[in-house]
Structure formats: structure tokens, C-alpha cells
Symmetry: C2
Subunit: 293 residues, 2 copies
Amino acid sequence: MSKALAFDIGGTKISYSIIDENGKIISEVKKFHTPKSIEGIEEILKNAIAEHENDVDAIAIATAGSVNKENTRVIGSTGNLVKGYNTIDFQALSPKKVFVANDANAAAWAEHEVGASQNCADSVMLTLGTGVGGGIIIDNKVFTGKSGAAGEMHFKMYSDKRRRCTCGSWDCFEAYASGTGLKRTAEEMLNDKDVTTYDVMDGVKNGDKKMTEVFDRWQEDITNGIIGLANLFDPDCFVLSGSMAQFVDCKKIEDEVNSVIVTTKTSVRKGTAGNYSGMIGAALLALKSLEAK
Amino acid sequence: MSKALAFDIGGTKISYSIIDENGKIISEVKKFHTPKSIEGIEEILKNAIAEHENDVDAIAIATAGSVNKENTRVIGSTGNLVKGYNTIDFQALSPKKVFVANDANAAAWAEHEVGASQNCADSVMLTLGTGVGGGIIIDNKVFTGKSGAAGEMHFKMYSDKRRRCTCGSWDCFEAYASGTGLKRTAEEMLNDKDVTTYDVMDGVKNGDKKMTEVFDRWQEDITNGIIGLANLFDPDCFVLSGSMAQFVDCKKIEDEVNSVIVTTKTSVRKGTAGNYSGMIGAALLALKSLEAK
């Protein structure tokens, strides 16, 4: 059975493990704080590759940031990763094939292959965490656009400049539908700078009326975003993953979306590929790229 | 040279003509008011087909409304066409191949083949008219989604329910970026129910400050919509067509879009396939479908 050594490189941590062609994690997942230097990141990759490359068929890298269409390097918008991260030549790290994928695209592929969107030819995955990631599957393939950067969830929720987004523009979906977005909605509605997402979720659990209103507003923003995406992409399903997805009422969102879209009905469900879906998806894409040769 | 008899069926008129495989219109374009009955519509189609079907290789129909993935019939959202329009069995009208396409998708294909987006593998066309149509080309193919209905420009510009859209929902791009949207923006900003799009464009031409502010707001809404679409689809270019596109400053929109998107730079340009781009695109798609067999 073919296997890949798969990494997940994010702004705060780097994880890796060996994953087989069925998407199964077959070695302990190792984790590191993401170093603040290119050399530090490369060292973690090199050490792991030196230890495992003889046991695997390919090296897979799920990474924050946009990845080029050739799946060899990062081309931009690397969030809180060190400056110059996009200059790393990943293929130079191993004689084995090194396959690089955007982490959200990789996670969407994992859901398509072994998770919640199996049997869906067209799907949109939203990772609701500190930010919002997006991975789109069209006709059973990862949709990348002209440069590899498609599926960025930076479309506007308002057109009158209310909230700055991390991307520098205003009022993107990410600035509302993320965990950070929930905190900002709470700050605005409660006029309290110190309120946290934990306060909101704790309040909802305890039946607090104001906190429930904040949560409902947040969920309505997610619903509004999905309505637009459903009319644009007409997908079989939406998959919600990431740390904030656990709080969301998929059935309620699905019913509201289906009551207003002009396309045919879609489905909204939670991801099932797990916390390591980025690594799993990257591994499966890397092994698939070997077959194609 | 192969040829198609191509129809464009809209809410107010039906046009038809013979179009060759190069997208050239080779017979006089005939026009009719769209009948208010299914029988009336079928009669126009039947008479034209009876007259011309021996001269052509296929029948092509560009129509308002969503079309199924098999390109044989209309499946919904037929705007102001007669009720039951989606029950018409177009293939039954001729022994020749009858190919049905959504009019905006067909127009996007015409731009891709003989118009402004030639040499663009990935493009988004927006038809700015009474409403807003959308046609999306991905990887040199018309993007249709799971049911054929993808590319509907009903994503929200605001999330606090300001304007009803024709689709029944609130604040869709169509309700802002269309000609009707320009009138509504003028109504709101000038507090005048009787102002027309003509008044606005006439005012802009004569340097009227208030009318120019209305127009700028309308163009900013179009820009905001394109920013979201650029981040989602990462296309090589946007093509603006339809009666309202003539007023738009493509260069200004392109510069603003490229200054904020997180994907790589795109281009915004006017359509060049002309007023009959729907018929031309449908004809080219119909003839292409014959080749594929």
C-alpha cells in the first residue's frame, strides 16, 4: 500500500505523520511550534524527511497560503507565517515527489475522499476557526482558479465599511463567520471590548438571552454567506469544519438556505475527516499525483 | 461549414437567426414579442424550425432560466416567462439535435470563443441589464454546478435586509448592480421615487454632482461584487456586457479590485460579442455537442 509523509504547516504549529492511500494515519502525529525563521521551518521538514522518506512514496505538504497550480510552492497571502516563506523550494528537500497544497483545499479533498462529502461531485468546505478557510470541489476535482488561489472566502457581507478584515479590505465573510467574527459581533452588540467567544458559547449554554442573540446573529451571517455560495456554485453539499463548526446548527442553516436560493436544493453538514484532514487530503492528493504519471 | 438555427428566448422577446461554426450570423435576425402562452412560444419555434431545419446541423436555444445539465430543458427560475415554460420538450420540436443553454452561460461562451475572453481559461461574465446575469467559464468549459444552475448572481451586498430582490430574498448583487439597482440607489440617495436611470446617466454627462454620487455608489457596488467573485473564482478576466455595461469604467473597477483581492491580479473588460452573444454562444455550444459524439 502506498504512503505519504504528510505535513500541516500553519501559523502556530507544524504537524506531521505518515498517511496511507486510504487516508489512514499510520504513525504518531508529531507537533512543533512553527519557528519564526525559514531555516527553522526547513529544519523540521528536513529532519522528518530524513527519518521517514525511505518508508514513503511521496512527501505531502498542506500549508496556509495560496499554492501555485503546479503544487510546488506557496505564492502568497501566507497569513502569520514568517516573511519569505513563499521562497521555500519544497521539492529541493527530498528526491521523492513533494506535493504542496493549500490546507483548506487539502481538507476539502479529505472530506471528499474519506469524509462528509463522499459521493458529492460538487462541494464547498468552510473551515470556521480563528479565520475562515475555503476549499471547493468541482466535478470531483479541487477547484484552484487561474493561479491556484481560488476559494478565498473574502466576499463582502456589507458594502458600507463596518469591519476591517485581516486581508486589509472591509467586511469579508471571514470577518463575520470566524471565531474572531463572533467575538467582534459580541463586542458590537454588547458594547463590551472584553467579551470572548467562550463567554458567548457559555452564555448560550446557560440560556442567556443576549448571548443567544449574539450567537444567532453570527449564525445568520454564516447562513447569508452560504446562500450566496449556493447560488454561485450550485454544490451538492456544504461541509463545515474547524473549531467553531461544532456550535453550528447545520439543519437550521440548510433549511434557511434552501428556502431562498434560486438554484436547486443543497445540503449543509459537519466535516467528519477530523482534525488532521489537511494532512490526510494533502497525502491523498500527493499519492494521486503519482498515479497520474 | 456547419451551422445552427439559434433562438434567444427572453421575457420580452424571442429572436432567431442562422449562425455558422465561426459564430457569424448568416441570416437576418427575426424578432417577436414573447407570447404569453406556451403554445404561442412553441408556434414561433416550430415555424422557424420548419423553414430552416434542412439548412442547419442543429437547433440552439439560449433561454432565460436555469437549464438542466443535459441541456435539454428549463428547470426553474424562468423570470417573467409564462408559467409552465419549463414543461416544454424542446427536442420534440425537431429531429435535429436541439441544444438548450441558459442565456447568460451562452453569452459567456460566445465571449470565450469569439469575444472579449478569448484566451482566458477562467472567466466570469456579468450581464448588467434590467437584472444581472452571470456566466462562468472554468478551465475552458461552461461551469454549471450540480444541476445546471450555477453562476446565479444572488449573493448579498448587505446582511441587514435593505432591499428585496426579484428572487424573493434580500440585498442580492442583482438588486444593486442592475439597471433597476441603479434606479433604486438613486431613489434612496435622492429621496425621489420618480428618478430614472436615464436621469442619472444624463446628470452624470452634464456634471451634476448628486447624480454623479449616485452613479459612483452604483459602480462601487459592482466593484464590491467583483472583489468577492475574484477571491472566490480567481479568474483570468471579468467580462461586463448588457445594456448598462456601456456606462461602467472598467479600468477604474479593475484597479480597485486588484488593489484589495488576496488572489492574483485579474482583468475587467467590456464584452465584444455583441447583442446576439446569447444566440451565438448557444449555436457554438450546440455545434460543439455534435462534434463530441
